[in-house]
Amino acid sequence: MTTETNTPPRKQSATSFLTTFRQLAQSVGPEAAPGLRRSLAGLILAAALQGFGLAVIAPLFTAAIVNPDIGHALYWFGLMAALMAAASALRWFAQGFDFDGRMVRATWRLRGQLGAKLREIPLEQLQNKRAGELNSMVLGNVDENLLYALTVLNLLFTAIVTPFCAALGIALFDWRMGLLLLLIFPTIVPLYRWRRPALGRGKRILGQAHQDASADVLEYTQGLAILRAAGRAGEKAERLSQTFHKLEAIQAFGHRKGAKPNIIVASIVELGLVIVLGIGVWLVVSGSLHPATLAAIFVIVVRLSEPLSTFILYTAMLEVMEAALERIGALMATKPLQQSHPMQMPSEFSIQFDNVDFAYAQSDTTAISNFNADLPEHSLTALVGPSGCGKTTLTRLLLRHFDPQQGSVKIGGVDLRNIPADQLNSLLSVVFQDVYLLNDSVLANIRMGRPEASDEEVRAAARAAQCLDFIERLPDGWQTPLGEIGGRLSGGERQRISIARALLKDAPIIILDEPTAALDTESELAVQRALDALIASKTVIVIAHRLSTIVGADQILVIEDGSLVQSGKHTDLHAETGRYARMWAAQGAVKKWSVAQ
């Protein structure tokens, strides 16, 4: 299992509401940040007013019961109603940020920005993340954390600010009871501080257990055919069930651990309130507090006890929100590959690799070392060598998925880093071994090669790529959406669509990464014809395993462990005793093999 063990060091507990707010403001963007600030201020103020409004119950009760004075009581009631109405109005106004759609707009903007960002971050970094992870970031995190932010914060404010202000208000009326209630707060704060990191720890243990279980499950479902063929599905299922038992134990453990701070805080709050009420009873008995005032305090305290004892739960939500905002922030902070100046476009399309050294970010060995090659314009160059030797890395360097650490890659003598990023792509066409078709019509899939192409031009490209016959057989012809029937196209047909796309683009440089490796014979023949149309008068780089397909290359580069070991034409290399000749001989032997031997 290669689950990630080096979880990034997370900032501990020190993060406060202010940090959360700053992250929030950043996520909603400068357009919405002032509105968000006003809205949050409104929520806090509403919570405070509500607290004071509750506190008014004490004088109200006293006025109504102790020396019944209806006028006085009405005055207090009016004040309370006014405070409550003001709190409601403020809250109504503050929640407008959600309900007017401003928050939704902000998340829409943020997603757009995330999408734009994905387009410019170096592909190497992009491909280190799985699509599902990014999906949950763009969809899940944005939704769950921004859309619910105000709701969660509102609950939190009502749980903290309201009780606090109610206690303050009571203190104005009866300082002893108010002070006693206020005493509960200082005991909660350190508990809260202590709780946050503990929560994070529990989450990590649980996250790891889930990750392991998920990997085991995937292995089970993927290996099911083999397990069944070996008659060992039951046994593996046994092991899997052990994993599940273990997960359950960790969940229960985590639950106990995670619930503990919660229980302690809630116990202290509940106990504290009972003691305060007890002291209130004692004050009444000793004659310094009227029972009616105590009754009012009962009403107030009962209202406050639940939010106060559960506020820890909301801070847990806050924690999750913060982690997600952090991830979004990290993605937004990724830097694109640097653009060097002066910006320049090449005037011809030869390719040079000059002393190129390259190592992948997560690896300590070099993938390409001291590589030199010159690919003249309009020539056909083949890269051959064992899998993993660096052939594909070279093409990715040319596509600028990443930059070399040493040396340079040039087109027409111009360093790739000087070519404007969006124009570099216009110089290159790639046909990959794995074809990726968009969930769109056939027409749109081919047209993405050159969006401004006319229907006639798209048709011509499709014809040259041998696509016409099968496209016309599709249920809706050119308009058939490939998402639904993508699976019904054969590998060869999909490959031909990708070649049509490349033909339409008509870029001066073509990269072919084993375009026929995954095809059956009949498709292969058609794809081969399509390729012949594609590469006419272009600078071509091809990666091929089957050597017979590249005997006509102007130049064959034999690569081993990231270095160039041989180069030349087929006839020369074949005559030398070397790596190439050995590979050629081995493939010859394979061709002759048949089942009778």
């Binding site: 994905l118 998920s214 069944r228 639950h255 004692w282 009403v299 083949a382 059956d520 014979t521 590469i535």
Partner: protein, 619 residues
Amino acid sequence: MAVDTDLNEDSPENSAPPIRKKRASPWRILKPVQTQIKLAMAISAGSALFGLAVMLQLMMVIQHLLAHPETVPWLWFIGAAICTVAAYVARLGAFNQAHYAAFRLERILRIGLAERLARVSLGYVETQGAGALAKVIHDDVKALHVFVADSTPLYARAYVTPVVTLGLLIILDWRLALVALLILALGYSILTRAQKQRRDMVRKYNTAREKVSAAVVEYVQAMPVVRNFDSGKTSFGRYQDALDGYLTVMLDWYRAAGFPARFSWLVLSPMPTLTLVLGTGLWLTSLDDLSVSRWLGVLLICTGMAEAMMPMMMLRHMIEKVTLSVIRIEEIMNAPELQHPSTVEPQSRLGLDPSAPALQFDNVTFSYGADLDPALRDISFSVPEGSVTALVGPSGAGKTTVARLIPRFWDVTSGRIMLGGHDIRDMTSDQLMEQVAFVFQESFLFADSIAENIRIGNPEASDEAVIAAATAAQAHDFICDLPQGYDTPVGERGVFLSGGQRQRISIARALLQSRPILVLDEATAFSDPENEAELIAALSALMKGRTVIMVAHRLATIRDADQILVFDKGQISERGDHDDLVAKQGIYARLWNNYEQAQNWSLGGTDADRTIAQEEPAQ
């Protein structure tokens, strides 16, 4: 989300029996832990009752103090304190019970799903996709947690509190009860307006959300391609479109349901009830028509009804969210199992008829689904012991389907497949697997050591046997070069090995299994041509002395097969050996021609190059 509620659990549309049966209910999936959940709910309800008891006792404390301000009402006060503790402990207990039940349910469901998958047809596994099934076992089961652990205790509270509260209110003072009830009715009626077009909205919302999700995945996965072709403009446009669609749906929702939802929230929050009950109480008190303690009692509990609405709304939302997961889980649980003979002793060895052909297809017709055209039509052939039969044909002709019917990925629709004179449906899977070994195109390795991966065929095999198999499969040398030799872990799904190396390990596995019949499903479609020569030597070793059925692309490899079956559109259109078939000038001859042409093609090839290509590899 602020705007979702559906309070009338028993609205007519829901309670009509046929619809109800069809709609997956998250409650049904709780069955394995039902008792514990019921216990949790009962404790939770008890906690709610204790909570109300606290209020009544506090009321009594004040009543006592008003009458006798000089004595402490110990009885009531201690009662209130005890009930507070009891309510709290019960709430905690319910919470714990529900959580442990939820964890247990997760485990039970996961094990159940895994065991189910061990019994369904492999075809089902394949059509659903291993990734999707794993997601159900892990993620969908996990998604149940919120519902099972957090909602069920809440549910009990949300129902018990308002009912008991209403009763108490009426006993205390019916006029104030009426005030509280009126506010509740007001809030509720606005709520129902808010949820009027709710179903429709939820559907639109889900669709829009799925679109965004698909657009993100597409956008990210296709990034290398889209960047090359249009710097991502097209797919970015599609991504942006999906986002725009989502925005529109959300804004529409807020417009349609925003106001009533917001308003009902306001009305149902505790403050309006409290304020109005206070005001009314004040008025009644001034008329001397209400005792202080009753007023207090009402004030202490009056918000209970309105407050129960919020959790109920949340609950609705949660249930809706998990319903999709429940549907997916139940789908797997209800997937049809392969039929297994009840009459055969599972452990007994099968008496194979030596005179019968090793393998025989008898008028086999097979369709992937009742409403689909048959993928195979009336296929009959027999494979004598020790012979090699090759299945060829254009892609989609049905040859892989034939290969996969033998290990019972699916069962035939009609006809039968006989193995040594026995219908394979009358054999247990162990008996079948004793006879047949399979090498698939995809070689899958488990995250275990190399030796264990080879042993999967035969757990008792000695180290020597493992090494012998690996040697015959041309794998011994590269295994010895690995840091820990045979004990080297291969990494998750064998990622540390090349495709050719993985393939040779799976061949070693088949060698060790040492079964008389061998099915090769495109095992010669080399994923790593660098290792072709070794792979071929390995396959030759494996095929020696066995009855072989193979699906092959490379026609050259099957020139010498004893029997070649040419498939076309689900039928056998030609059969015979290579020379016969070439002479026939039919489909096979065409395939062979194409094959030779494709082999001789070279990129940008001139005629001169063609000649080289044709001559040299064949030397």
